[in-house]
Amino acid sequence: MTHVILVVEDNERNLKLLRDVLEYTGYDVRAARTAEDGITLAVSEPPDLVLMDLQLPGIDGMEALRRLRESPRTAGIPVVAVTAQAMKQDRERALAAGFDGYVEKPISVRAFLDQVRRFLPGEEAGTE
């Protein structure tokens, strides 16, 4: 079984990094460059995990999380913030808002994968 991960990220390079790393590890990656697109994608085909940037054009990550939680189809999906906001209060705010995890950019690829796995319980990580 291959896990589907939705990455919501507006920075092309960072999106590419996350996507390449995740795909390489064996995940099925869906990408969205705005929160609106992300929500549409998540509702139409609920992923196993959402990786969400916080600063996005249009509605931001916080609001997107709120909307995902509102919809019964997406309410149960773990959502992890992946953000360049590094102030202590940013992390606290995100976790208080209901994000399941908080990954600070720049990411450490291995630690990142480790964290991703943690949100996919019982996953059988992709082999070759």
Partner: protein
């Protein structure tokens, strides 16, 4: 006395002539006297105006003038001071009399002239004190020798504040004229006393305001605005009220000058209706087109005798409408700058005497001071508001800068990591090298960014220390473990020496580590291969002192201060010592927050020794809870508080003991020391410890004897004894009953393994066995995992590894594939074949490129394959945590 004018007689009639001459001479005399009196009076007023707070100066002028004008031998001013008179100024008297009168003061009774003047409140003369039956102070008379005395009261608001008196040593009564002169002078003296009191009060209030400003400035606080402005209003109110009262006018106002707008604003009023004040507030009182503006520009008081005849400006119009007729405008100047103006007004037309104007100038200068303080205060208020905004902007800027920099850094670090992980194929050596450069440059930028954020937090006063009491040695060891990897690569010897007096410190643990780590990584970075870095900790005068010495190139004298100041405002060092970044600056600030300091001792080419000191501050002042005697010997005789099993260490060498204690304590044991055999026996019998570490070469009763006695005693026979000695006499040791026998030098792992085998201590939960023929690789694993709480057991061969795994049942195994003898593949097969070890998770850590065959061979039997290319601390620890908690997962691969 007065030089008389000689005039030629106008007529020839000698009688008339004589009469006229006499009359003329009399008039001339009088005129001269009046002139002289006027001159003296104005002199007094001038003194009052010039130095209002100089009472002595004013009284001197008054007394000297009066004495001269009235032809007295002595003149004096006595001021009421409680129930007596105090000599405030005397002229012409002997020092003997001064002393006498100071010891035998004049009191408020009828025995003296001064006393009578005070009681009767009028001018009085005694023609000859020696014939006055009521005169009681013949004692004073004998000292001073006066005969005719005269005095007038100094009245203020109907109250006697003092007496101005004159005397002659001959019986020679003073004229009525003299009485008049003296009365005038007394009034002036009284005014001076009043002015001085007032000015002093004002000065003290002004000082208070000044202090408050300074205080506020220092505090950067604005919370006291209300009390401050109340104080200001009160001060200005007092000034204007007193000015109006003293000048005998009907009302007045104080204006503040606004330099930018070039206009005056009314600050406070006296004798003025609220409507009028409102009207004054509504109009613009410009500098260039108003009467008070003119006075201010000229820098002297201007008088207006009748508003009805004067050209009216907006300000004067308001006053004229309210019925005011005359006024004086007094400018308030400070160092040539216009600060404001004071206006005194009357409902009647006419002149305001010059001396009043002089007095008003004194008040005006006081008001100027108060206003300046107020301006300073308001400026402060504005500045702090601006600062607050600026600080808000700064925070926002920093947050956004941090975000903006992290975004590209993510790509830089992330992509280079991906390539270094060989996710997309093998790299040649140069590619690998360049990618490492990219990766570490990215990491360096990230560090700088984090340091900048920390520094700004400190600058903004937002860094809050999270203090706790923690073990200094443990923290230092932790930091050492973080640089060990790099030190090993550079063959740098790391050493740690912690004085026996060093125990707990009260500080922010993370920040403490940040400082130590910064010094350590600088030391390792700048020390050439094969050098050494020595860390020492001690307690001096309640201060914890930590030094980090290296054998690097040293720091040049001119850099020794500035390496700590790279973030200092206004100083920019383009040739900043490369690579130190902001870490030292940050360390300095962190230490300052702890009340500590940092320094460097260095000689170019001789290495450097960085040190820092901070108050130890722990409740047990940086000492472990041990008796002083034990401290002196460097050994503990009582167990330190802690949850672990007690282990008695019988060891006479302090350094060896310290080392053993560190090893045992980091594994959770409570360590009790004994410095000789006898003490050892006694301690073991008393404490029944979980284990004993025994040295053989001891003073007095030696280790063999101790071992024999312990094993002979049924009460202690069961306690495992681990011999740790220079002597390699295992046979003898085991024969006497030793559970384990280790030959010095003994490593931590060896010691702990022996203790675990002897079951003297329960093993820590997370243990990993690392099997690798490369000792460096095991050191790297240790460096990565020990800080995360793992116990790392190393094995150099597959065979050793297997027996270690069977014996210790670790929570994970890190395995190299390519090893001489039994290789990794065989180890995996052996492990999977044994039911006892079948489930232990195995992580392959290899630099070998995995072939399809390799993978097939391992498939299903291992948990994870990681490449040796990079040691990411959190990565490896996280990985191991993950594999050890999900044991059944089949193979997956990263790298």
């Amino acid at each position: 006395m007065v030089e008389r004018e000689k005039r030629k007689p106008a007529d020839q009639d000698p009688a008339i002539n004589a009469e006229i001459t006499t009359e003329i001479e009399r008039l001339a005399d009088e005129l001269a006297e009046v002139r002289e009196q006027l001159a003296a009076t104005s002199e007094v007023l001038a003194v009052i105006g010039r130095s209002a707070s100089d009472l002595e100066g004013v009284l001197e002028t008054v007394v000297e003038s009066a004495r001269k004008l009235c032809g007295a031998d002595v003149g004096q001013v006595l001021l009421v001071d409680g129930d007596r008179y105090r000599l405030a100024y005397g002229s012409g008297m002997t020092s003997e009399y001064r002393e006498f009168i100071a010891n035998n003061p004049v009191v408020l009774d009828r025995e003296t002239l001064v006393g009578r003047v005070g009681l009767d409140r009028r001018a009085t003369q005694i023609t000859d004190v020696l014939v006055d039956p009521d005169y009681g102070r013949t004692d004073a008379q004998r000292v001073a020798g006066y005969r005719t005395v005269m005095g007038v009261p100094m009245l203020l608001d109907g109250e006697v504040v003092g007496v101005l008196s004159l005397w002659r040593t001959q019986v020679d009564p003073f004229s009525d004229r003299a009485v008049e002169v003296l009365t005038t002078f007394a009034a002036q003296a009284a005014l001076a006393v009043r002015t001085v009191d007032l000015v002093r009060a004002l000065e003290s209030r002004t000082d208070e305001l000044g202090r408050k400003v300074t205080q506020l400035e220092a505090l950067g606080a604005v919370g006291q605005a209300e009390s401050f402005s109340l104080n200001l209003t009160e001060v200005l109110n007092t000034i204007i009220t007193q000015a109006v009262q003293l000048s005998g006018t009907d009302g007045g106002s104080i204006y503040e000058f606004d330099e930018d707008a070039r206009e005056f604003r009314v600050e406070t009023v006296c004798g003025t209706s609220p409507e009028e004040l409102e009207a004054l507030r509504r109009i613009r009182i410009g500098l260039d087109d108003t009467f008070i503006g003119k006075a201010a520009t000229l820098g002297r008081p201007l008088e207006l005798m009748d508003l009805r005849d004067a050209p009216l400006d907006p300000h004067l119009s308001v006053l004229a409408e309210s019925g005011w007729r005359s006024l004086v405008a007094v400018p308030m100047l400070r160092e040539g700058r216009i600060v404001g103006a004071m206006v005194i007004r009357r409902y009647t037309p006419g002149r305001i005497p010059q001396e009043i104007c002089n007095l008003l100038e004194t008040f005006a200068s006081q008001s100027a001071l108060a206003l300046i303080n107020a301006q300073l205060y308001r400026q402060l208020e504005r500045q702090s508001a601006a600062l607050e905004v600026a600080s808000q902007h700064k925070s926002e800027f920093l947050a956004s800068m941090s975000h903006e920099l992290r975004t590209p850094l993510n790509a830089i670090i992330g992509f280079s990591e991906v390539l270094l992980e060989r996710m997309f194929g093998e790299l040649n050596e140069r590619q690998d090298d360049y990618l490492r450069d990219i990766w570490s440059s990215g990491k360096h930028l990230l560090e700088l960014l984090n340091d900048i954020l920390d520094l700004s937090k400190i600058e903004a006063g937002q860094m809050v220390l999270n203090r706790s009491e923690f073990d200094v040695r443990e923290s230092l060891e932790y930091c050492l473990s973080l640089v060990r990897e790099r030190a090993i690569k550079q063959r740098i010897l790391l050493s740690l020496e912690v004085g026996p007096e060093v125990g707990l410190v009260n500080a922010d643990r993370l920040r403490f580590r940040q400082v130590v780590l910064n010094l350590l990584s600088n030391a390792v970075k700048f020390t050439p291969d094969g050098g050494r870095v020595d860390v020492r900790a001690s307690v001096r005068d309640q201060d914890l002192v930590v030094t980090v010495a290296d054998t690097g190139p040293g720091v040049a004298a001119e850099d020794r201060q500035r390496i700590f100041d790279s973030f200092q405002q206004g100083t920019r060092h383009t040739e900043q010592v490369e690579g130190t970044g902001l870490g030292l600056t940050l360390s300095k600030r962190i230490l300052e927050l702890h009340g500590g300091r940092i320094w460097v001792e260095s000689e170019a080419g001789q290495g450097s020794r960085f040190g820092f000191a901070m108050p130890a501050g722990a409740r047990e002042p940086a000492l472990r809870s041990v008796p002083q005697a034990a401290l002196d010997s460097g050994l503990t005789t009582e167990p330190a508080p802690g949850p672990g099993p007690t282990v008695v260490v019988v060891e006479d060498d302090r350094r060896s003991f310290d080392l053993l204690r560190v090893y045992l304590e980091t594994a959770g044991a409570r360590v009790v020391g004994a410095r000789d055999g006898e003490e050892g026996l006694d301690t073991v019998r008393r404490l029944s410890p979980a284990g004993v570490i025994l040295d053989i070469l001891l003073p007095g009763v030696d280790g063999w004897e101790v071992l024999a006695q312990l094993k002979a005693d049924p009460g202690t026979a069961a306690i495992p004894v681990i011999v740790v000695s220079m002597l390699d006499e295992r046979g003898r040791g085991f024969a006497l009953g030793a559970t384990e026998y280790l030959v010095k030098p003994v490593g931590k792992e060896q010691l702990l393994a022996a203790l675990y085998r002897a079951a003297a201590m329960p093993e820590r939960k997370h243990t990993v066995v690392a099997i690798d023929d490369d000792p460096l690789a095991i050191e790297l694993v240790r460096a990565s995992l020990e800080p995360e709480g793992w116990t790392v057991l190393g094995a150099a061969t597959g065979q050793d590894g297997l027996s270690l795994i069977r014996e210790r049942k670790p929570s994970a195994v890190l395995l190299d594939l390519l090893m001489p003898g039994m290789d990794g593949f065989e180890v995996v097969e052996a492990l999977r074949a044994d039911p006892d070890t079948k489930t232990v998770p195995v992580v392959i850590l290899t630099s070998k490129s995995m072939t399809r065959q390799d993978k097939e061979r391992l498939q299903g039997r291992i948990t994870y394959v990681a490449r040796k290319t990079e040691f990411d601390v959190s990565g490896l620890a996280g990985l191991l945590r993950w594999v050890s908690t999900s044991r059944q997962s089949p193979a997956s691969e990263s790298g």
